[in-house]
């Protein structure tokens, strides 16, 4: 397996939150697929980081989980954005843009 670009540390929550905000309730596999597809198959979310992250977000109250029938008639846990999650998303995006802009300023040739 070749080396893949890693998801920058700290941005996974934001990616998941944004995905849920855009698409609505999704199960874990769906979230991973969605990020993979939208990112032009650059970002790959591994289960080993996805599910712990989802648990963490449950504790923080950013997402809520619900067991539902999936599109192909399987029982799956669907994650849904809460209002706290929506606020968190806004905060994270703002912070990320600030940091990105700063990083860009640093690496741009003078």
């Amino acid at each position: 397996m070749g080396t893949r670009p890693e998801i920058p540390p700290g941005t996974l929550y934001m990616l998941i939150l944004k995905t849920l905000a855009r698409v609505g309730p999704m199960h874990g596999y769906g979230i991973a697929q969605h990020i993979h597809r939208i990112s032009g198959e650059v970002l790959e979310v591994e289960e080993g980081s996805l599910y712990p992250a989802l648990q963490r977000m449950l504790i923080k109250g950013w997402v809520a989980a619900e067991w539902k029938q999936s599109e192909n008639n399987r029982r799956a846990r669907f994650y849904n954005l809460t209002s706290a999650g929506r606020k968190q998303l806004a905060r994270e995006i703002q912070e990320f843009e600030l940091v990105m802009a700063a990083v860009v300023r640093v690496i741009q040739p003078a």
Binding site: E47, Y51, P52, Q55, R56, R74
Partner: protein
């Protein structure tokens, strides 16, 4: 905070969490397989993944907790002086609370070791005025302010009536607790505490046998073969748990009784204050009596003779109120049938149902008030200790304010820091609690020793059992939160900038709008509380010294006391008198015994033998018949006790035969004769309405001596009578031996002499006159000793608090003091500047404490003797002690401030 609840929910539903996670993984894998993309990664390490998910939930919380704990240990270790002071005050505070609580548990809270003790009820009756249907009571009664006279004793017929109420009771049993019985066990005479019980006693209580069988209904009827059940403790101490004890015969009052079994370990009757050795059926009473026929009639057929106690087990679903109304009505009907005149029916005793889970309440009545007083004292001491530590933490919190400000500004949550500070204080308090257990262990021993006062038969077994340990744990936790919370909240609040700016925290941080700091309020409260405690201690100590200073009128030192009763061994009348006279001669011959005497009861032992008296030529006051206390004594009693003869002569050997004579005390002459000389007058003793013959000549007047109790206001009018005067009434006697050295050292010789005289007569209640008097003031002694300890403890803790606060404020003002000194302030004025603060704090505390004590000391009035609740001496001594101690505590830092080198002080800024 929501996260905390979600975490808790997780901890409670772990299994569901695991299942859901499994299912989620399977779902994910299934979808991944379906996608079947080439080069699709295999699913990662499932176990690791689940582990990661789990740590998300619990990992952090516990990791943080253990981080906090490690940090707390480091902080405590870094500041040894602070930690040491905090630990010592906590250990003392929590230890004292645990020790007193263990007594509270043993006396007030511990249920009887029987099945479902909460279902048990005790029956009593109460009456405000006289109750003619109660012709005589054989048992106990006491007065209660609201209810009047209360007694647990009933006629046997009442038991038979109430037992029929199967709707209320699933069982009702009757008993007579702890009668002393002369017994001969394995050839040796002794006095045993015997319970007499109805046949359903053990089955109702659900007590099982440890050996043999227990008393059953067929044992408890007239004419049944007499049987006995041993208590486990007695079986252990006397028979070494030998199973062959069952089936053996023992003699009780010279009647053979067969041991049929042993009751379960731990069970020792219905009274937690008395350890029963042996249990007999109720119907054995007549067997041990002088006249069995009379006894049988009196006990089982006289409905006006009140003697058995009753306890029952309520049927499930029956409430106390229901039981009360039903039983009271039934008992009323019964009592009406026992009235001999119609007018008697207007004032019948009223039945009252009480909770019975703790058994008889003799101990509870005696000690509950004292325990609440002590519990209040130790509670206040712990509050003092808490205030001390809170104060130290406040001071430290300010010196750590920079560290905390840095952490807060770096993004640490306030709750996180509060939690960490609380972890530190709870860890401290738990360590203090653990040390407190050592203090409590030692305290329980000392208090037990104080209460026992040389008596070996104290049944009070306070110990560090599970409920007590639980109390200590809860108390430690609560203490830690209590003294930690305010300083923690304070340390983490408000504006960070000043704290960050200050290069060092030397500037006094006065917060706007708060002229007095929390620390100062705490010190004022401490001084106030400890003043109240010192006043309380002063009152108790004053009471004890008053009691010890009572003029007795006789010499209490070096008198050996013991009880001998030869009547159950078969001696009667003149033979009994001869036996005692002979014994007295033999005791006098023991080396080291100066003189020997005996009397029907010892002096000052709370015994009262009152009777009517007729004095020819003296008219009794109308409506108030003359009352006389009497004591039967042998000729050498007055000289042995060193009671002086003021007029006439004492009782001599020749007076043991007719004519009848008496020696009276001074009070007699004062009360009845207006201080005229009574010698040569004749008196008659007995109920004045039956006009007894005035055939007793007064031959002498003795000095007043304490008769009933050292707490009596004045001795009663008293007559000493030769013991041979009423031979039919002669029963057990107490011997008084005045010894040359320690009285108890003669006990073995006494035992030998008695065994030689008759091996079947037991020697009991060996004591000394000193111990006997002390035992009547055991409660006062305990309160005075513990009160003094607690008062001193409170004083020390408050002084440490004051010292700490002043020393801290001096340290903070180092720079300021340096400037003052550099500008030429005199050292005396610096001392005064610091002491002014001490005086203000202590003064405010003293005023508040004084006011609080003024209002509350009346609650301990019933424990006082010779001291009023607001005794000016105790109050002023306490104020002076506390004032001096406070000044001393404040003077040390003040002096240090004045001695400061101004240059060093300025540089420190």
């Amino acid at each position: 905070m929501g996260g905390l609840f979600r975490r808790l929910d997780f901890l409670l539903h772990r299994r569901r969490f695991e299942q859901e996670l499994d299912e989620e993984m399977r779902h994910h894998q299934a979808l991944q397989r379906e996608a079947k993309r080439d080069g699709a990664r295999p699913f990662g390490n499932v176990t690791l993944l689940k582990e990661d998910c789990r740590t998300m939930w619990i990992g952090n919380f516990f990791t943080e907790l253990s981080q906090d704990a490690r940090y707390a240990v480091r902080m405590i270790g870094a500041n040894r002086l602070f930690a040491g002071m905090a630990l010592i005050s906590l250990a003392l505070g929590i230890g004292a609370n645990t020790a007193i609580y263990s007594f509270m548990e043993a006396i007030l809270l511990r249920p009887l070791p029987v099945s479902h003790p909460e279902e048990l009820v005790v029956l009593r009756w109460c009456a405000k005025g006289p109750t003619p249907v109660v012709k005589s009571v054989n048992g106990t009664w006491y007065r209660d302010a609201g209810v009047g006279r209360i007694s647990p004793n009933f006629p046997f017929a009442a038991y038979e009536v109430l037992r029929g109420d199967g709707e209320t009771f699933s069982a009702l049993f009757a008993f007579v607790p702890a009668e002393p019985r002369n017994a001969v066990v394995r050839g040796q005479a002794e006095v045993l505490r015997a319970d007499s019980v109805s046949g359903n006693y053990y089955s109702s209580l659900g007590v099982t046998p440890a050996a043999g069988r227990l008393i059953s209904t067929s044992d408890d009827r007239a004419g049944a073969a007499p049987v006995a059940v041993l208590s486990y403790q007695y079986w252990e101490s006397r028979f070494g748990l030998d199973p062959a004890a069952v089936g053996q015969r023992i003699l009780i009052n010279n009647t053979p009784v067969t041991i049929v079994g042993v009751s379960a370990p731990g069970f020792a009757g219905m009274d937690p204050g008395v350890e029963t050795a042996i249990t007999l059926p109720l119907h054995t009473f007549p067997l041990f009596a002088y006249r069995p026929g009379d006894e049988q009639r009196r006990r089982f057929f006289d409905a006006n003779f009140y003697w058995v106690e009753m306890m029952g087990r309520l049927r499930t679903g029956v409430t106390m109120e229901q039981a009360q109304s039903r039983l009271a009505a039934r008992f009323r009907q019964f009592a009406e049938t026992t009235a001999s005149r119609p007018s008697d029916k207007t004032s019948l005793p009223l039945l009252a149902v009480g909770e019975g889970r703790g058994g008889r309440d003799s101990l509870r009545r005696q000690y509950s008030q004292a325990i609440f007083v002590l519990m209040t004292m130790v509670g206040l001491i712990l509050a003092l200790a808490c205030a001390n530590i809170a104060n130290l933490l406040l001071a430290r919190g300010e010196s750590r304010s920079r560290e905390i400000a840095v952490r807060l500004s770096l993004g640490a949550g306030r709750w996180r820091i509060v939690r960490q500070l609380l972890t530190e204080s709870v860890l401290l308090s738990c360590l203090g609690g653990a040390l407190g257990l050592l203090v409590a262990f030692w305290g329980i021993r000392s208090i037990t020793w104080l209460l026992a006062n040389g008596r070996a038969d104290l049944t009070l077994r306070a110990s560090l059992n599970l409920p007590v340990l639980g109390f200590t744990a809860a108390l430690s936790l609560a203490t830690g939160l209590l003294f930690g919370l305010a300083p923690a909240l304070r340390a983490t609040r408000g504006d960070l900038t000043p704290a960050l700016k200050a290069a060092r925290t030397t500037a006094p941080v006065r917060r706007p709008g708060l002229p007095i700091g929390l620390g100062q309020i705490l010190v004022v409260a401490q001084v106030g509380i400890s003043l109240a405690l010192v006043i309380g201690a002063g009152l108790f100590v004053h009471t004890l010294s008053n009691l010890n200073a009572v003029r007795l009128g006789f010499q209490r030192e070096n008198v050996l006391l013991f009880h001998v009763n030869a009547r159950p061994a078969g001696y009667r009348g003149a033979a009994l008198a001869r036996f005692y006279g002979g014994l007295s001669e033999s005791f006098r011959a023991i080396p080291g015994v100066r003189s020997a005497a005996f009397s029907d009861y010892p002096l000052a032992s709370q015994y009262w033998n009152g009777t009517g008296v007729v004095i020819p030529g003296v008219e009794p006051q109308p409506g108030k018949p003359s009352q006389l206390a009497t004591m039967s004594v042998d000729p050498s009693f007055l000289s042995t006790m060193a009671i002086p003869i003021l007029a006439g002569r004492g009782i001599e050997k020749r007076d043991l035969r007719a004519p009848r004579v008496a020696v009276v005390n001074e009070q007699f002459a004062k009360e009845f004769l207006g201080n005229a000389n009574p010698v040569g007058r004749f008196i008659g003793i007995g109920d004045a309405r039956e006009s007894p013959a005035a055939d007793i000549e007064i031959i002498g007047v003795a000095g007043n001596a304490v008769y009933n109790s050292i707490k009596e206001e004045k001795p009663p009018a008293l007559a000493y009578l030769p013991y041979t005067q009423n031979p039919d009434d002669l029963s057990g006697v107490y011997f008084e031996l005045r010894t040359a050295g320690a009285p108890l050292a003669r006990a073995e010789s006494v035992r030998r002499v008695l065994r030689a005289a008759d091996p079947l007569v037991p020697l009991t209640d060996i004591s000394t006159q000193d111990l006997e008097i002390d035992s009547t003031i055991g409660r006062e002694r305990t309160l005075a000793n513990l009160g003094a300890c607690f008062g001193a403890l409170a004083l020390v803790i408050a002084c440490i608090g004051l010292y700490g606060t002043i020393a801290y404020s001096v340290a903070r003002r180092t720079g300021e003091i340096g400037i003052r000194l550099a500008l030429g302030a005199r050292r005396g004025s610096i001392v005064w500047m610091v002491l002014r603060q001490v005086v203000a704090l202590a003064g405010a505390g003293l005023v508040i404490g004084f006011a609080a004590a003024w209002e509350t000391t009346r609650f301990v009035q019933s424990f006082l003797f010779g001291a009023k609740p607001n005794d000016p001496l105790a109050l002023s001594v306490a104020v002076v002690i506390l004032g001096v101690a406070a000044l001393a505590a404040g003077y040390a830092p003040a002096r240090r401030a004045a001695r400061m080198d101004p240059m060093a002080a300025l540089r420190c800024e």
